[in-house]
Amino acid sequence: MQWLNVILQGVLIGGLYAMFAAGLSLIFGVMRLVNIAHGDLIVLAAYVSLMVTQSLGVGPLTSLLLVVPVMALVGYLLQRLLLNRTLGDDLLPPLLVTFGLSIIIQNGLLELFTADSRKLQAGAIEVHTVQLVQGVWIGVLPLIQFIVAVAVVAGLQLLFYRTALGRAFRATSDDQAVAQLMGLDTRHIFAMAMALSLAVVAIAGVFLAVRANFDPAIGPARLIFGFEAVIIGGLGSMWGTLLGGIILGVSQAIGAQIDPGWQLLAGHIVFLVILALRPQGLFPKVSG
């Protein structure tokens, strides 16, 4: 029974990892850009939520109403003003610019907020539990987070395959020049993709902040979790990314149960094993 609990916890946090991954996977799909500052932007969202909750006196979940549009706007401007200039055949500029951005965000947050650990309080809901089946209890908050994660993944799928914007994303990703011939301003499309990515990042950041302590330095680890979830699940598949996140979460939970120091290692090892045995991921989207 204890192991069932452990696995459940792993599945629930896997949802959060999938949200880390979803934003990353989206922009890679649309513009072949890997944003090394992705994890730091998640942390940035957490701090924005901190500021909103402190100054307006609202709860973290309510702060989402402000944090999501703010981060989306940040994403739009970031892509339009800076990252669009790095796109092209050369691999170095986007990598090094987003790496520089990562350093800037980390140290900027350090200057503004110090290295102190913070956490957002969501109130009583943090301690509520609900009984799934006989003898198995899970926290209400982790459950809500998981459901939201699934909803986000489903929403993104819907957007990509049922809306005009999603069509524009796919077309631009296929053939930038011909997409222009359709009347699409690709600079704007890329910026919209980044805005969407950061909207997801905002949700992930707020959930992260409520769930655990955060400080300016934890960004890179979130990037790595997101990245591992994408690779385990397989490139190009949103549902694969969700499953990848869950597998990662469960691996970490099992590792932690064996020995607390092994939590992160277990996740990395599972990632490396999958990379060795099935590098295309478990559920890659067949292209074509």
């Binding site: 691999l91 980390q106 992160l264 490396l272």
Partner: protein, 339 residues
Amino acid sequence: MSRVEHATPSSRIGVAIFIATFVILALAPYWADRQTLRLLVEMFTFVALASLWNLLAGYSGLVSVGQQAFVGLGGYLLFAMVIVLDVHPIAAIFIAGPIGALVAVPVAALIFRLRGAYFAIGTWVVAEVFRLLASQISVLGGGSGISLPASAVIAMAPSRQMREFEIYWLGLALTAAVLIGIVILLRSRHGLALTAIRDNELAAQSNGIDVARIKLIVYVLTAFGTAMIGALIFLQKLRISPDTAFSVNDWTAFVIFITVIGGIGRVEGPIIGTIVFFALRQTLADLGSLYLLMMGAVAIVVMLWAPKGLWGLIVERFGWQALPLQRRLVLEKETGGKA
């Protein structure tokens, strides 16, 4: 009959300057104070690390943000050999190299399955794994780290001054060896292949260059050098911990910034970059995270508006080459008989 000539007028001057500088630096223990010597060793190690990173990223297209894996590996190998096996510290440095190279082989087998930016993050994951493993090794201090035992320190040399001189000369020698090694590699057949890969990987492949094999060789050689430098760094520090050994800021961020600002894809770049970096650090002193923030901003600006770095700008403007790395075909006339 024809031969390839590497030197240019400016490179002859460059080599002369290098030799003169080397002699002056070799004599530094006699004219510099202790503080300066430590600073110089730090500069040497950064020139070496940046040059090795440049070889990977600027020449082979393997952008790694995880070289701290090998810096830390080298450091931990040194401490392990000294503490557990009672090896002489300086010998340990030279053993760390080959072991680092050996470790690089299975690592490469794994992460070479990833491409581009995903490869970069993969290198980061590997560094994280090394860090986590290191903190599990209690005989080497676990998460809090360990200091080099006094007995080993004394084994290096009886007096502190002699020890510092030894470390200084080692640093200078290793860095010079790394630079010379890189120049030799670039002047060789493999180096020509690397330059081709740097300019256009697909074209290089279709011209029969075994790109995968060369990348593996370069990755392993870089790990070899990086591990030795890492061992030296932590020998100087006399103390190691997982966080300092595998620090992304110290061993990757600074290295990348140095190379980007100095000039990627050119051997002279890391040298210029290190000088600029340390000049800035001396003048901006204790700004802490603000300093890193500015470095990040400068790197972004340079990457977007001067992607060839400072040395790149100089080459474009003056056509200088500080090192004999050019290739010029010199045709010699037949002296007699039928053409």
